[in-house]
Assembly symmetry: C2
Homo-oligomer: 263 residues x 2
């Protein structure tokens, strides 16, 4: 049975702004799955600095697997792939990060300014997917995460050369945490008492969301009408994104609701 | 004088899809500066996994400094701040990553699908800003990077307690690289020869951009009209974001333009 929360461990416990922290599996997974680019970080033996690569990914459970994994497909992958191949043990230790900004929260004073946002971080061990069956399954999962049903509406299956050249990382999730801020502005009492400040500074939320604009056919496109799977996706994604940002802009401020617990 | 390109070094050289790589200072800085949340990665002595934190940041040059730095302000900062304080030498080695998605590029076959996007990665050493003058300068820089002129239009200056509780990281940039993909779809010759595929699969770009929705006044706002600095920002940001994504959707495909160089 699915656990509803990721356990708190040393490496994933949020130590500040605890009232915004979450270990809820659904919140964390949905943040990762709704983020078009994930930032994947790992140590490089050749450099003093960690490496971060932008990759496309999706959390899924392969039929027969006991737990969820994060599947990653990356454009700049030679280094990460090499490291994941070399590893003989459990895999390469990596961190996967996703953040969505839902609004700018403008308050009376710069120090109280905030974002409405959702962020998630996964820690785990990455290995290369080594069977064609699982690779194909993950390719379909990732393609359809960008545009639902796109897989079936394109030229499939991938041929031998395409299967050969595609590499998918599978991250066994060892821990995860998230942070969510939504709500109206919240200022400190000292500023809320000042009539001059209240009378002169506009406070509110600027809701922010991804917009998908009118589909632009490419130069060799012959299909005259934008197909249903694309049109439906564009429409639904825009409605959903806008709705989330607007609702977040009107919820009670979390700092107000939970400040007492933390103090 | 400003160097126009970051030098290629072992840790920042892009090894795959080289035709999309850039070391151009302006492209890299503008990508970082246009990204509302940066992902900051560093090694943690207590964990096998790297840490990634979402932070707000901006590249700037403090008066008197010889080179550009990246200033970071973070909500979850106790760990990173502790590490940056402990370090007696040049600072804590970190990696700062920024990615903006400008469109989904839908092609004939899943393997050729792509994003229009801009990404940038900075490698450098982070230290805590330790003078009030530079801290104040960086706070203004970062606040105004979210909404231009917001600093002067809010209750300033920060008081003693606010200065005390705010910590800013300054990253000395040791190297950087970026990747940019813009343009129409591009498929392989084998698919462009297939009439059945061309006749059945829609190809094109779905332009994607951040939209800032109508400003939503908060519960204790008394300023009846949305002030100019906010209204102007919302309008200009929306026009600029949309324009970039739409133009990117119509440029020639980079794979086509530069494939020969790489082969």
């Amino acid at each position: 049975m699915e656990s509803e929360e990721y356990p708190k461990q040393d490496f994933n416990t949020v130590n500040r702004y605890k009232h915004q922290a979450t270990y809820d599996v659904e919140t964390i997974h949905s943040t990762v799955n709704a983020t078009p680019v994930l930032h994947v970080s790992f140590a490089s033996p050749e450099s003093p600095f960690p490496v971060v690569l932008p990759m496309i990914g999706q959390i899924g459970r392969y039929p027969g697997d006991e737990s969820w994994s994060c599947y990653l497909h990356g454009y700049v992958s030679s280094r990460i792939m090499k490291l994941a191949f070399d590893s003989e043990s459990e895999g390469m230790p990596i961190c996967v990060a996703a953040t969505k900004v839902d609004g700018y929260v403008l308050t009376l004073t710069p120090n109280s300014h905030n974002y409405n946002y959702r962020s998630a971080v996964l820690h785990g061990y990455a290995k290369i997917v080594d069977t064609d069956a699982e690779k194909l399954w993950a390719m379909e999962l990732i393609t359809n995460s960008v545009v639902p049903d796109r897989w079936a509406n394109s030229r499939i299956p991938p041929d031998g050369a395409e299967m050969q050249s595609t590499r998918i990382l599978k991250v066994k999730i060892m821990g995860a945490s998230g942070k969510v801020r939504e709500g109206v502005p919240n200022d400190e009492r000292k500023d809320l008492k000042r009539e001059d400040v209240l009378d002169s500074v506009w406070t509110g939320v600027l809701p922010i969301h991804e917009s998908i604009d009118v589909p632009q056919p490419g130069p060799y496109n012959r299909v005259k009408t934008v197909p249903d799977h694309v049109a439906k996706f564009v429409k639904e994604a825009n409605v959903k994104n806008k709705k989330y940002a607007m609702e977040a802009a009107h919820k009670p401020a979390p700092e107000k609701r939970k400040k007492k617990q933390e103090d």
